[in-house]
């Protein structure tokens, strides 16, 4: 942190930190309102699709964030999502119960989180390799046990929140969503509160920034890392459940399609904060939603080029921002007790 005697006023720091993001958000808002005046239904469709597309991304980003705030890099989010999507799907096929299926997905993610924690905290395996193990394992297991032709018993349906859902633009976009989407929005604010305003969050951040100091003060570094990576895994599991049980209603091989990695870029773009990640996820969701819109608009661009957009955006964001973003100081470094 900046500890010079004359630090600039708080609002200036805030602007320097978030100015770029706020500026582009404002620009987008103006564009959206203008577009809404022209064509209300398609604007609402794009915005609703933005929120839908952003849900797995913000969940993945929260998973990565909880791990990295405790200094464990998780590149296995993709695999956690995929296996959770699959197990959630299977539980639904067997029991016909959507709620149980979601729980199963969350638990699957948490179990894989525990595996990652075991590899990176206890075994001190290189964390990038540990994440890769999870990704390949999930791809193999889901491929091996996959059977064609299975579909879920129903999908999680949208629940309009009374009169809130009738507000123009905001209503259909934020207050007429299926349950996991609501939970996601709540999780963003809950994570923000937990990370910055509770003892748990303070200890997590201490473990991520200076584990030795935290250890000296009596914080159990290993326990904090395990707990946060498992918690993050559960969130990635929810993202997987979202894909099969809320968005698609069936399972396909490798259906996560790189979302776990895009989520990492979202986390970095959001500077390892829940609210920032949400904003970044909405931006990425918007890019994906526009993609579908562009395809329908009959533009003469091959669909493969439009398909590249989210990935190119991820690269640009990483290249442009990672240098200026500051990860937790001990990120990726295994902790050795003395």
């Amino acid at each position: 942190m900046n500890t010079t005697l004359e630090s600039p006023p708080a609002w200036k720091q805030y602007l320097a930190r978030w100015g770029w993001g706020l500026g582009s958000a404002l620009l987008l808002l103006v564009l959206v309102l203008w577009n809404y005046a022209q064509n209300p239904t398609s604007t609402e469709a794009v915005l609703a699709s933005t929120v839908r597309q952003s849900t797995p991304l913000v969940l993945g980003a929260l998973c990565g964030l909880w791990g990295e705030r405790a200094a464990v890099i998780n590149i296995g989010i993709e695999g956690q999502m995929l296996l959770a999507a699959f197990i959630g799907f299977l539980v639904n096929v067997w029991t016909g119960n959507l709620f149980l299926a979601v729980i199963a997905g969350v638990l699957t993610g948490a179990v894989l989180g525990a595996l990652l924690a075991f590899m990176s905290v206890t075994l001190k395996i290189d964390q990038i390799i540990g994440g890769t193990v999870i990704n390949i394992l999930a791809l193999g297991l889901t491929g091996y046990f996959y059977q064609q032709g299975l579909t879920t018993h129903g999908k999680l349906q949208a629940i309009p929140l009374g009169p809130l859902a009738d507000i123009p633009i905001i209503g259909p976009v934020f207050f007429n969503n299926p349950p996991i989407t609501y939970v996601t929005i709540l999780l963003v604010f809950f994570s923000h509160y937990l990370l910055f305003y509770t003892r748990w969050g303070l200890r997590t951040r201490a473990v991520g920034e200076h584990p030795r100091a935290a250890d000296t003060l009596g914080v159990d570094v290993y326990l904090m890392r395990y707990a946060n990576v498992i918690f993050g895994g559960g969130i990635a599991g929810l993202a997987g459940a979202f894909l099969t049980l809320e968005a698609v209603g069936s399972f396909e091989r490798a259906m996560t399609n790189g979302r776990g990695f895009v989520a990492l870029a979202v986390m970095i773009f959001g500077k390892w904060t829940p609210l920032g990640s949400w904003g970044a996820a909405l931006l990425f969701g918007f890019a994906t939603a526009m993609q579908t819109q562009l395809q329908f608009a009959g533009l003469n661009i091959p669909h493969q080029f439009i398909g590249m957009l989210p990935y190119l955006l991820t690269i640009i964001v990483l290249a442009g921002f990672v240098g200026r973003a500051r990860p937790p100081a001990a990120d990726g470094v295994p902790y050795e007790k003395e």
């Binding site: 075994l123 395996i125 193999g140 091996y144 398909g307």
Partner: protein, 366 residues
Amino acid sequence: MTESASSKENWLRSLWRAVNIPTAAVLLAALIGAVILLISGANPLDAYSALLKGSFGSLDALSRTLEKATPLVFSGLAVAFAFKAGLFNIGAQGQLLLGAITAAVVGFGIHGLPPYIHIPLALTAGAIAGGLFSAIPGALKAYTGAHEVITTIMLNYVAINLTDYLADGPWKDTSPGNIVARTPEIAAAARIPVVAGIPLGFIISLGIAFIAWWLLWRTTLGFEIRTVGLNPHAARYSGMKVARTIILTMVISGLLAGIGGAVETQGVVYRYQPGFNVGLGFDGITIALLGRTHPFGVIPAALLVGAMKAGSSTMQFDAGVAKEITDVVQALILFFVAADMIVRWILRIRAEEGEKITLSTGWGQQ
């Protein structure tokens, strides 16, 4: 890997040290794979014997194993080479795809060349395509600090989309009756032959592995690459151009992956068709780690995974076991190789002082 092995006993011991962990890892992974097979109601003995029959059971099977291993040697070399500079090139897949389609274009686009010119020409074109594509994450890493793990994965998706477009658009096979996305067949002169059951591509891969070893351990560039991999700060402090080394390493890694794609096009598929090269680049990760990131270790590792690929269709056919079980076994192998302390504990092998690969030093640092 010790370099100065004077007596025979020393040599044997270093060989044992190089193979003990990977061998144990493979056996443990196969054991757990057997448990998964049992749980899913399959007979692991039937499955594994069918796997062996399909990979080593006959001369045909052996030839198929070599054929499957060939692109894997290249993708394994690509990943292993980058590892030496501390870079994790997950983008071998995308680089391989671009190499494959570029070799196809040179293969079907040019006619009338003799094979001894056409074959190397197409191979070189494929290599260059992979190298150029891989220069992007290299430059991004060197100049902006963007982590190559994410940029290469993202570029994989870009490569898939790009090659899909090319094979369905400008380079599509327009012969009557064809409706699928694929390029025309390459000229006969561009095809890499199979001599006495041995795919010539495999021989080429051995030569390239030797060149990679020579480059890493017998040249200044190789010394710089390994120094950057072990300690980038020390490398920078001693006056090495770290950014240049990172980009060059990624380019060479991409060249290797690109040849892998080209060999597959020229030796097996004879055209580019989306979906035919999937997974070859990702297997390179397992192979590089299994081969302990050494060019000569990559060869047996590629043979092992190639055998699993060659045998998996026999396994699916004879024992009714889905191919994907080999992916599961591969992930487990990777786990046990990386988690060598578990294997050491089981085998009671003492830890050795060796170079450890460290990749996850954070996002922004170089």
